[in-house]
């Protein structure tokens, strides 16, 4: 790892990534001279290159760093919303500050704690880190995907994450919703959950979309 970048420089990287890596120099992040110096800093450190027409483009190294920043931001949001139960704009503002103090080892621990979430509270994907790929399921999680629960583990539904709108509607319609108490009764041959006073049998695909905040272990 190179020496840490400043907050505004990180913001700029983030911004560059979300504009597909191209950006007219000096549109955001910092004011006046500092803005110029932030861009200069990125270029000097090899995160970006300046084209003759004045656009700034991320280098592969820059993209990698920017992806990490996005990941930290969204993980921070997840943490604040799922574990600390913050809501609305406050969560976002806090996350903005939080992400900058997250260093790789802390980031991985938080990611593991959260059960390697795949999306932020707004539904945007969280770029997976090394830990997600290794998916150390042995650790005690606070929020985990329902399909990874043990039989008789219980909690409340933390969120639903799926790209499939039909699947999402199905879960919404039947009442497996964030905030609902849920208990896994069985994992095999299908997943059976108790939600409220009703039992549901679902397959792996659907159980993979339900994330649970664990509350007790029997």
């Amino acid at each position: 790892m190179t020496h840490p970048l400043g907050e505004e420089t990180e913001e700029l990287l983030h911004h560059l990534l979300s504009h597909e890596g191209r950006h007219k120099a000096g549109d955001c992040c910092g004011t006046g001279e500092r803005r110029g110096s932030n861009t200069a800093r990125l270029i000097a450190d090899g995160y970006a290159v300046l084209a003759p027409d004045g656009t700034v483009t991320l280098t592969p190294k820059g993209e990698e760093e920017a992806t990490l920043i996005v990941r930290r931001h969204r993980l921070a949001e997840r943490l604040l919303v799922d574990v600390l139960d913050l809501r609305g704009p406050e969560a976002h503002d806090q996350a903005c500050r939080f992400e900058h103090i997250l260093r790789p080892d802390v980031e991985e621990r938080i990611c593991t704690l959260l059960g390697h979430p795949r999306g932020c509270p707004h539904g945007a994907p969280i770029p997976p880190g090394r830990c997600c790929r290794e998916a150390a399921t042995e650790l005690r999680k606070v929020v985990g995907v329902a399909s990874a629960l043990e039989a008789d583990e219980a909690g409340t539904v933390a969120y639903i994450h799926t790209d499939d709108a039909r699947k999402m509607n199905k879960l919404l319609a039947t009442g497996i919703l964030p905030g609902q108490p849920i208990r896994l009764l069985r994992k095999f041959p299908s997943y059976v959950f108790q939600v409220g006073n009703t039992q549901y049998a679902v397959d792996r695909d659907i159980a993979d979309a339900i994330y649970v905040r664990l509350s007790e272990r029997k």
Partner: protein, 676 residues
């Protein structure tokens, strides 16, 4: 299941004495008691069972509310107004277009929180809602008490506590409907500011005539509902372009969908209301049914139980008792030794001559007469078997066992492109393929529907056919581990066909992977009266469907014999029969099979009774007849659900497969000198 939908003559009773004034719609989640309520109100019979998704079409009947007669419609269960499956869509369309005078929303009291999430959109639609708070007995059993007054106040609509299975709450409900439920004004649930603003903008653009409230329409439109969009396009005409532009503008570019956010607000409301009105008065007592229910979802218990249920139910009860003992009693003793000899004797005395006398005798008697063939087969062979099957099926169905079977089989079914849900039409197909083809509607994807329709036509024998085949196979002497060897070979071949066809069709058809999702209702002790009435009603329609077709077949054979077309058809079939190593006479059974498969199987039964077949021939003939063309009724149902081209392809495919596999099996069994 509403069997009456496709038996035209069954729908005519229900009283034409008074013209109906207004429509009362029954809606609610699956398995909450809608059909029981329908039966209570109309006195008519819509099959009630303990598995979700049994009502696949709207059934309607007339009912008295005080001195008014109104039409009551029972809709398939729906979880939300954003419908997902075809069956849900049917009910929703009625709510959105037909201006019911009352909408009875049936709620399972013990799952109130979840159910209220449908009440909210119904109220928002501006529908005249009455909430029927059902299953109060089960709620009490698990220690819950409901403050009905507080619920009424929170919802702003009438709430009637009830136990429909015990007819409790019917009087109060009738009174509430007769009084004309009020449409609640105001907003039960406020949405976040941006959503409310968007709704306001959409509502301002709705100028056309709608059967439901503009707010309700606006919500559906904002949630991106395709059908609501079509309705708006029709109602608005040229003005729709502007609306479409606004909708496009309001569509969130990223993040959570509106449907999600709206649902979350409704959920918050439902949670808040239900935690206020539901009181836990005592801890839930764990009942035997719950312990048993938990045990059945364990595969170590579930799979052996499933096998035991199939063995006892299908092999012992339907196969050996129904098709063996009962058929023997009816066919040999009643018809064979008593009715038919008397009929022939009488005909012989009344019409003793040759010429037209002979043909007149043959119309009713002889080998192919309406009485000696059609009536004998229908009453003596088909009836006892079907009775046993439906008795068995009704008991299972009411106990709530099927969803647990679906849950156990889901993983295995995925390999043939199906979800566990398919277990319901497939087991029902063992009763009647026609019914089951209709019930493929409970499946979510087109692909699953096609695969199941195909398997029903090819590899699932209907109860009458199965019964006769089982009787033929199990009366052979060779047994392996106490089970007839011939039966084992037949079962093995049919299962192989099932798997290979399922696997292949699944590979050929592209499209969505099926997903499995099912509510597991509590296990309930089947009520004897319900089982009897259900079995009776199913028997009745089955018999009404079978008898005319059998008589028609008998008539056509009679005409065919006079014109010699019968011999020509037999001559065409004989080479195919010959290839399978069967005696020439068995071509007749296959000819009957074109009318109905059970008719063909019954023909085979007679043939075997005369000692014309050896073990290998019985097995080969049974395999071929099992796969042979679907019966006329099933074919018509396939055409209705899947189109003519698909049904012709399936029918053609099954004839070719039947003969090819029959021939192959014959060669194999002969080569291995199988002793069956």
């Amino acid at each position: 299941m509403n069997w009456k939908r496709f038996i035209p003559w069954a729908d005519r009773r229900g009283g034409k004495d008074a013209p109906a004034s207004g429509l009362v719609a029954i809606v609610g989640n699956p398995n909450v008691g809608k059909s029981v309520l329908f039966n209570n109100l109309t006195g008519r019979y819509a099959t009630v069972s303990n598995y979700p998704g049994t009502t696949v079409e709207i059934s309607s009947g007339l009912a008295k509310f005080g001195d008014r007669t109104m039409t009551v419609a029972d809709t398939p269960g729906m979880y939300s107004l954003l419908s997902i499956t075809d069956e849900e869509r049917v009910g929703r369309r009625m709510l959105l277009a037909e201006k019911p005078v009352a909408v009875i929303h049936v709620i399972d009291a013990k799952n109130m929180e979840r159910m209220l999430q449908l009440t909210v959109p119904l109220i928002e639609m501006g529908l005249p809602v009455v909430v029927a708070l059902n299953m109060m007995d089960e709620a009490k059993d698990i220690g819950l008490a409901v403050d009905v007054g507080a619920l009424r106040e929170a919802l702003g609509v009438e709430v009637v506590p009830s136990v429909f299975t015990a007819k409790k709450g019917m009087k109060e409900l009738r009174r509430a409907v007769l009084a004309g439920p009020k449409v609640r004004t105001g907003r039960p649930v406020p949405y976040p500011r941006d959503v409310e603003e968007a709704l306001g903008r959409i509502e301002a653009l709705l100028h056309g005539r709608y059967a439901v409230s503009k707010r309700g329409m606006a919500l559906l439109l904002l949630e991106g509902d395709a059908e609501a969009r079509e309705m708006a396009a029709t109602a608005e005409g040229a003005r729709f372009a502007e609306l479409a532009a606004v909708l496009e503008e309001l569509r969130p570019a990223s993040g959570r969908s509106v449907a999600y956010r709206v649902t979350m607000e409704r959920q918050r409301f439902a949670h808040e209301v239900s935690s206020r009105v539901l009181k836990r008065v005592e801890g839930p007592s764990r009942r035997v049914s719950e312990t048993l229910g938990r045990a059945l979802i364990n595969p170590w218990v579930g799979v052996p139980v499933a096998l035991a249920v199939l063995y006892v139910g299908l092999y012992k009860f339907v196969g050996q008792f129904g098709a063996g003992t009962l058929v023997d009693l009816f066919e040999r003793k009643l018809f064979g030794a008593f009715v038919n000899p008397h009929v022939n004797d009488f005909l012989g005395r009344a019409l003793p001559g040759g010429g037209w006398h002979y043909w007149a005798r043959e119309l009713f008697g002889g080998d192919y007469g309406v009485i000696t063939l059609a009536l004998t087969y229908a009453v003596a062979i088909v009836l006892p078997i079907v009775l046993c099957f439906f008795l068995f099926f009704s008991i299972l169905e009411d106990s709530g066992y099927f969803p647990r079977l679906a849950m156990t089989t889901d993983r295995a079914f995925k390999s043939v492109g199906l979800s566990g849900r398919a277990v319901i039409p497939l087991v029902l197909g063992l009763g009647c393929g026609t019914m089951a083809t209709l019930v493929t509607r409970v499946l979510e994807t087109k692909r699953e529907k096609i695969i199941v329709t195909m398997l029903l036509a090819l590899a699932i024998p209907c109860s009458a056919q199965y019964g006769v085949i089982a009787a033929l196979l199990t009366r052979r002497d060779v047994t392996w581990l106490g089970i007839s060897a011939a039966f084992v070979v037949w079962l093995f071949v049919i299962l192989a066909v099932f798997l290979v066809v399922g696997f292949t069709v699944n590979r050929i058809l592209g499209g969505e992977r099926p997903s499995f999702y099912m509510e597991l209702p509590p296990l309930r002790m089947p009520r004897l009266d319900n089982v009897i009435i259900k079995t009776w009603s199913r028997m009745k329609w089955y018999f009404m469907e079978v008898l005319p077709l059998f008589a028609l077949a008998s008539l056509i054979i009679w005409i065919g014999r006079i014109t010699r077309l019968f011999d020509a058809a037999i001559a065409v079939l004989q080479p195919a029969v010959h290839v399978m190593g069967l005696p020439a006479k068995s071509a007749e059974a296959f000819l009957y099979g074109f009318f109905r498969r059970d008719f063909g199987a019954a023909g085979l039964y007679t043939l075997d009774g005369r000692g014309l077949l050896d073990g290998v021939q019985v097995v080969v003939a049974c395999v071929a007849l099992t796969m042979f063309v679907p019966c006329i009724a099933q074919f018509l149902m396939m055409k209705k659900e899947q189109g003519l081209k698909m049904s012709l392809a399936v029918a053609g495919f099954s004839v070719v497969m039947a003969f090819a596999i029959g021939a192959g099996l014959n060669v194999l069994l002969r080569a291995t000198h199988a002793h069956l």
